[in-house]
């Protein structure tokens, strides 16, 4: 009798629990319904770097649309985008960052190191964390509130030269390397790395006069025949270009026109399908460094990303910048997820100075081995190093396709701030 009562009671309890489950779930969902977390995104979708900015913008927005639509947002909260086109105009950036702060964004991102450089003073002053897809050592050496999604332009140079010395250099003595650099932080990153490590690596950098002065070009350059003629006269073994795709393509074409017999390599700001489109056959055989996998590689996140790209922005198919944009948003949402696991939603959603501190301390600084669905190297925060991903791949353009020719290469931490010439 007693057992029978217990069984009946248990069944009744079970029925009650099962019956109330939909209401409990509904209550949980209703709690989060309409609640959002804001992320600030700024891309150079117009202006001289638009060929990079547009695929980056599309990748970032598509990744957030995917997470909101298919994964129910981050921890049940929808992600709201506050997007601003900066037109690659440095004078615009500080007001865009002010706008992000006013709108209640928990953090912001820029695509380019130049735009982050223009706004980092405010971001550091207010403790408003920024994530730059493409970065240069000046953004976070010494580390403050600006983070690099990927290894920086200095890491590109070091990784490629390591590869070149190990796998390609067959001459005697030291190889001679000429650097053609964009006249902003994109170019400066490679110059700084070359200056810091040339002696240790055993390479001779062909400076344009004084040490530390590379051959420079502007983003809207229309001919580099003059500078390349001077470089050719110095008989280099390697021509390393640290720039955006359009000027990189111009330099490659001009170098081919001059009949330069050198190994040409590009940093990751220039190595995209836009380079192949712009330089055509002249791009064949160009090496480069890029911190994401190739388009179509067999990694977990590739199919979903390609599906969204095909549906929303088919013109970006094959473009590495789309992958970078997509992964940048995935990382920002992972930061929000980590922060939400360690802090209260209301505190984070307020988008004020406390929320910025939570995002940084409970989100960014607690990132450990986030795999970004295999699309680029793992993402972790390590003390005294604001580069969240530290791995790059070496690529070569063959038959119009940018193919990876190495496995992931880890870029070491370089404490540039300890060098007396850094920032001078």
């Amino acid at each position: 009798m007693k057992t029978k009562k217990l069984i009946i009671s248990a069944i009744v309890c079970l029925i009650l629990i099962i019956a109330s489950l939909p209401y409990m779930t509904a209550c949980g969902g209703a709690d989060k319904e309409g609640k959002t977390i804001k992320l600030g995104i700024s891309t150079p979708s117009t202006g001289v770097a638009a060929e990079k900015g547009r695929p980056l913008e599309h990748g970032q927005k598509d990744a957030i649309a995917y997470v909101n639509a298919e994964l129910g947002g981050v921890e049940g909260y929808q992600i709201e985008i506050v997007w601003r086109d900066n037109g690659y105009d440095a004078a615009q950036m500080s007001n865009i960052v002010r706008n992000f702060m006013d709108e209640g964004c928990v953090m912001f991102s820029t695509s380019s190191s130049a735009m982050m450089t223009a706004s980092m003073g405010l971001a550091n002053e207010y403790g408003f964390a920024g994530l730059a897809a493409f970065s240069s050592p000046n953004l976070y050496r010494p580390p403050q509130h600006i983070y690099g999604q990927l290894p920086d332009y200095g890491d590109d140079f070091l990784a490629f030269m390591d590869y070149y010395l190990d796998e390609m250099w067959e001459g005697s003595g030291q190889p001679k390397v000429a650097i053609h650099a964009l006249n902003n932080s994109t170019g400066k990153g490679a110059i700084n790395a070359a200056r810091a490590y040339a002696e240790e690596m055993g390479i001779t950098v062909l400076w344009d006069g004084a040490e530390g002065k590379a051959f420079e070009h502007k983003a809207d350059s229309i001919s580099e025949m003059e500078s390349l003629t001077r470089i050719k006269a110095m008989n280099p073994d390697v021509l390393y270009i640290s720039s955006t795709p359009a000027p990189t393509a111009l330099i490659v074409k001009n170098a081919r026109e001059l009949g330069m017999d050198v190994v040409i390599a590009s940093g990751h700001a220039g190595l995209t399908s836009a380079l192949v489109d712009l330089a055509g056959e002249d791009a064949e055989g160009v090496y480069g460094v890029f911190p994401t996998v190739s388009w179509g590689d067999d990694v977990p996140g590739m199919d979903k990303m390609m599906e969204y790209c095909e549906a929303n922005h088919p013109e970006d198919a094959g473009n590495g910048d789309y992958i970078t944009g997509w992964t940048q948003s995935l990382i920002m949402m992972e930061i929000v997820r980590t922060a939400l696991q360690n802090a209260d939603y209301d505190a984070l959603a307020s988008g004020d100075a406390d929320a910025w501190a939570i995002t940084e301390n409970e989100g960014i600084k607690k990132l450990v081995n986030y795999d970004v669905e295999g699309l680029h190297g793992p993402v972790s925060y390590t003390i005294d190093d604001n580069r969240l991903s530290k791995s790059v791949l070496i690529f070569k353009i063959q038959n119009g396709i940018i193919k990876a020719i190495t496995d992931w290469i880890e870029a070491p931490v370089v404490r540039y701030e300890d060098l007396d010439w850094f920032g001078q």
Binding site: A50, R84, D102, T117
Partner: protein
Amino acid sequence: MSLPCGIRNLTYAQDMAIVRTKTQWGMLLGLLVVVFTAPLYLSNYWLGVFNLIGITIIAATGLNILTGYCGQLSIGHAGFIAVGAYTSAILTTRFEMPFLVGLICAGLMAGVIGIIFGLPSIRVKGFYLAITTIAAQFIIMWIINQWGWTGGQLGMTVPFASIGGYVFKSGMSQFYLIIGITVLCIFIAKNLVRTRVGRAFIAIRDNDLAAEVMGVNLTYYKLMAFFIGCFFAGIAGSLFAHWNITLTPEQFSFKNSILYVGIIIIGGLGKSVGPILGVLLINLLKEVLTINVVPFLEDKLTMFPSGFASGVTPMLFGLVIVLFLILEPRGIAHRWNLIKASYRLWPFSY
């Protein structure tokens, strides 16, 4: 200046006064109340927008003195602003001088550099002078890019402005500092063109040969116009440096120099209110397009190819400027004068 019907100037002081009628006083006070209470109802972002507008007005006022009043075409104004910005930044960071010293030195340094690049104006004018000022832009920016003290291409971080221990860090405090200096600069510029110097500038602009015959020393006054115009640019540069707190050479591009010329043409060349109206139109148009129009178009115009909204912004910006120049080639200041004239005659417009 014309006055409403029935009002006469009875003394010299009345004749020279800038603000003369009760209506003008009322409007001025109303404007000052609106401006100085703006931080109470504007967000931090919009305060930032108006801070940048104030800084741009100072720089454009300098260019208006040089080009609008004295007729010396300068297409290197962003370079002179950069001189002021970096002078102030270097003095306050590397030499730890107070902000006010940096501000004044920024104006003086930009003024001196302006005189150096203004020297060709003694022999050439018009398009030829424009070419020499373009050279100024490129030479100045090259030096800034190469010189270690400026941080080169990576730029430099600058402290917020501070006076007597008070740091102008919040948007509101920066607004009062910048708008205060802007009002002062406009007042100085307005009065300058009513003095002997200003009349000499106008005489040179209208006919330099005739001016010389009248006894105007062309060399002296042309170089003075360069000094004053670039002094204002230097002050604007200093304020920009301590407001933005990050300086990079890319913030002072050749494109910006051309935009400054566009601003004073659209606002009204040789009118003290011209730079104010020109800057308000250009900056607000740019902000509204960037912040409101493009995101709206991105959301709503889904039938168009991706990137359409981004691409339409520069087109809209250019279209508005072109339409404006076609419909009101004498600048907004002329339209403003027509409105004032119509008010003076109202309600008997004959």
